[in-house]
């Protein structure tokens, strides 16, 4: 079985759940001996090229293929592009401007064969340019199915599938409705819809998302499958010795995620205010960045809790581990979360979690406290209970951590493989 997979990002440079999910899935497929050709956008010349250098010290920036560590069955193809996950078209414009500026300032010292002038002027055109390049690339590859992750890759997936005649699977990690509420961007919606309808099969990361796909995108139920995400079990011997938490007088409640509407940061802050009305020795940490971050900082100040809320900005690598070790409780107040990998990571790091009922992960996670995202009274009630009654947190942690062991990428990969097989039979 050979899969032409279209993704957005790959380690070690991950900016969110999508990258983590692609990594987990690909790694699991590699272990099942499924051959994967992983195609992703790579920024040819900017501050973000560190990740490419790490992977292939010798190859040039415009090189299109490399392998990654122990993944024997996975080959990577990068297409120079400024497309970045979770970006808006303004964000794209900014990156484009910056790239052009850097190229001008460096002059002839720039050693890359694809110049910034090759990027499209706006994000949507870029998506289609990317698709065209992907199709060219695909002509030289052999594969049985095409698997595209989230909207930016759908046009590429459609084209590659059409050109090669292979079946297309579209993997929905999030929809416009999750990201933008009711004010969806029509162009992105159209791309999502086209991708879903053209695909031979649609995979959703939860029943929560599946329902949105069926009701908001007009797909028929048989076409949509649910494959839950998994979590990597690092086995890094991360025993909870409890030392870092003893002696600390203040409890720490953690929010980790993009500070954007979808993640419900304002509900976190309102609940924090209610908690702080009742108890004083607790601090709230918001780790992440996003379009609502300035607004969140203002809101904390307005609520009068500014001194109790800390903003760390975007955390990566070891910093994430450090923040988990400091935290006593993790809260995910998402407004609309297709899955939600972060609470699983928190459990892996031995912290009890409170999650929004409006999330995919709440379908499968039993040992977590669940609350409607808007119910800040109940959210505060549960936060205070965890902070006040140690046995609650202890039981949630132990059982929750045990539960995450059942959520394996291996199972997700096997399910995908099954879906591939079914498609190949009917084709």
């Amino acid at each position: 079985m050979r899969v032409f997979m279209l993704g957005w990002e790959f380690p070690p440079f991950i900016s969110g759940g999508l990258g983590t999910a692609c990594y987990g899935l690909t790694k699991a497929m590699d272990q099942l001996n499924i051959k994967v050709i992983f195609c992703l956008p790579a920024i040819a010349d900017s501050d973000y090229t560190t990740h490419v250098k790490l992977l292939t010290p010798s190859s040039r920036l415009s090189a299109t293929s490399f392998t990654f560590g122990k993944l024997k069955n996975v080959a990577f193809r990068t297409i120079p592009s400024l497309l970045q996950p979770y970006s808006t078209s303004q964000g794209y414009q900014q990156r484009l401007e910056e790239t052009k500026r850097k190229a001008r300032s460096r002059g002839s010292a720039a050693v890359c064969s694809i110049g910034p002038t090759d990027y499209s002027g706006d994000m949507y055109t870029e998506v289609h340019r990317y698709a065209a390049v992907a199709a060219e690339l695909a002509k030289n590859e052999e594969f049985d199915v095409v698997h595209a992750h989230d909207w930016m890759t759908y046009p590429a997936g459609i084209v590659v599938a059409a050109v090669s005649g292979k079946p297309l699977i579209v993997h929905v990690h999030s929809t416009e409705f999750d990201r933008s509420g009711e004010h969806v961007n029509q162009m992105i919606y159209d791309i999502e819809r086209a991708g879903m309808h053209t695909a031979d099969k649609v995979i959703a990361v939860s029943n929560f998302t599946r329902n949105i796909i069926i009701s908001r995108y007009g797909l028929s139920a048989e076409k949509v499958e649910v494959v839950y995400n998994g979590i990597d079990h690092n086995g890094n011997g991360n025993m909870d010795l409890g030392e870092t938490r003893i002696g600390k007088d203040e409890k720490i409640v953690l929010f980790l995620g993009r500070i954007t509407m979808q993640k419900g940061p304002e509900y976190f802050l309102m609940a924090a205010k209610k908690v702080l009305d009742v108890t004083d020795s607790v601090k709230f940490i918001m780790s992440g960045s996003g379009d609502l971050m300035p607004r969140a900082i203002e809101m904390a100040a307005e609520l009068g809790i500014g001194h109790k809320v800390l903003f760390t900005g975007f955390l990566r690598g070891e910093d994430v581990e450090r923040i988990y070790r400091m935290a006593d409780l993790f809260v995910m107040p998402s407004v609309s979360e297709p899955f939600g990998l972060v609470p699983l990571e928190a459990l892996e790091n031995n912290i009890p979690v409170i999650i929004s009922k409006q999330s995919g992960v709440s379908e499968i996670l039993r040992h977590a406290l669940k609350v409607d995202f808007w119910d800040i009274d109940e959210m505060a009630n549960k936060i205070i209970a965890v902070l006040k009654y140690p046995p609650l947190g202890a039981t949630l942690r132990d059982h929750g951590r045990y539960e995450t062991r059942k959520l394996r990428w291996k199972d997700a990969a096997q399910r995908c493989a099954q879906i591939y097989e079914e498609l190949l039979v009917t084709v």
Partner: protein
């Protein structure tokens, strides 16, 4: 001679209302929900079952006998929400073929934490039963049939009981059969009646299970199994939850029809009869001693106390509850003491069980909470409020929930007579 000894456990807990850390009220219980559930169960189970059994008793003219254990909490709710059920229990009592057992009034685990409180609750229960039905209970059963040697010794020392009931668990019986009367280790006079769990659970759990090899269970088939005990046992103790009839096993499974034919089928064999627990104790001498150093119960496959005390939340909640005993009793405030006692109802801790959380089944069906964690949080919030009330107590007029009922006498105030 196989004597069939039926004993039905009748209990309804009081469910707490949603109580957050921001709540400040003294009203902890969800009266609306409790009323709704009580009337529902009364209609599906208590009334049809009582009527059926009453008819059977009359039909067999003294040859068909049964026993009940009714918790104080149940009786209070029946009086408040479904008094017609009490009148059917009255009628049953008057037949002279119905025995009432004694237990803790509040269906509590107090035996494990406070002997004094335990004995007070047992006393109160016995007074209530005597007041309502004119019977002085002589047979004791502890909450959820929790039992060990110490309990038997304590019960014997009161001098008020002839026998005590327990689960006939494999790990205490070994090769022996539950179909005999035994002596608890350490006792001289008290007799031990052991539940025949195989036959009891055939009715209580497997009755409607189509995957069961013996489905469908007819009265005739069951009577044959009972008769097979002849020569190899004296008594078949069928102890079960009364809600088997109509709630756990819905009417359409045929459970009522089964029961209505059972006496006839059992009595077909001349060596069979029905006995109440006291009659069993009077008729048979113990054939041996049973040693139960560790606690057993009739719950789950483990038949131990893990359903109520298996995780950190449960043991923490119950410890905190009983730690308040002195503080609560020192207030001498009836309302506070009664609220504290109502928090001892074992169901509160049952809801916090995480044992089968992933698998659902029995624990979850009767759980008013979405998750065991919610029940713990709720309980601890209430306990916290109760504890604070002790410290900040101002003189309150005696408040009794039952007196809300337009002058209907309450079980509690009558106890003071």
């Amino acid at each position: 001679m196989a004597s069939v000894c039926f004993y039905f456990q009748v209990h309804q807990p009081l469910r707490l209302r949603h109580y957050t850390v921001f709540d400040d009220s003294n009203r902890y219980f969800d009266d609306y929900k409790n009323a709704a559930i009580c009337t529902k169960v009364a209609n599906k189970c208590y009334l049809p079952a009582n009527r059926l059994l009453l008819n059977l008793i009359k039909k067999y003219d003294g040859r068909f006998k049964i026993a009940y254990s009714l918790t104080g909490i149940l009786l209070e709710q029946l009086q408040q929400y479904s008094p017609e059920v009490l009148s059917t229990f009255d009628a049953l009592a008057e037949t002279g073929c119905v025995e009432f057992l004694a237990e803790t009034y509040y269906h509590s685990l107090s035996f494990l934490y406070s002997r004094d409180e335990f004995l007070e609750q047992v006393s109160k229960h016995m007074e209530t039963i005597e007041y309502l039905f004119g019977q002085k209970p002589r047979v004791f059963r502890n909450t959820e049939l929790i039992y060990n040697n110490d309990l038997a010794a304590l019960i014997e020392s009161t001098g008020k009981f002839d026998a005590i009931a327990s689960e006939g668990a494999d790990h205490i019986l070994g090769f022996r059969s539950p179909n005999f009367v035994y002596r608890p280790k350490g006792c001289g006079k008290l007799k031990l009646l052991l539940k025949n769990y195989a036959l009891s659970d055939d009715i209580a759990f497997r009755f409607s299970d189509r995957n069961w090899s013996q489905w469908p269970l007819t009265a005739g088939k069951f009577a044959q199994w009972v008769s097979a005990v002849n020569g190899n046992g004296n008594v078949v103790n069928l102890f079960m939850d009364y809600e088997t009839f109509g709630e756990h096993q819905w009417a359409d499974t045929g459970i009522f029809d089964f029961m209505s034919h059972l006496p006839q089928e059992i009595l077909k064999h001349p060596d069979n009869d029905f006995k109440t627990p006291s009659e069993v104790a009077r008729s048979y001498e113990p054939v041996g001693t049973i040693d139960v150093p560790h606690l057993t119960s009739w719950a789950d496959t483990e038949r131990d106390v893990s359903a109520w005390l298996g995780n950190a939340m449960q043991s923490n909640a119950i410890h905190e509850l009983y730690r308040l005993e002195k503080k609560i009793k020192d207030t001498s405030d009836e309302n506070i003491i009664t609220d504290w006692r109502k928090l001892q109802i074992s169901d509160h801790f049952y809801y916090m069980c995480t044992k089968y959380f992933a698998d659902g089944d029995v624990h979850k069906y009767f759980n008013p909470y979405d998750s065991p964690y919610d029940s713990y949080i709720n309980f601890m919030n209430v306990l916290d409020n109760l504890s604070r009330r002790c410290s900040t107590r101002t003189a309150e007029p005696a408040f009794c929930g039952l007196s809300q009922n337009k002058g209907r006498p309450s079980l509690q105030t009558q106890m003071a007579d």
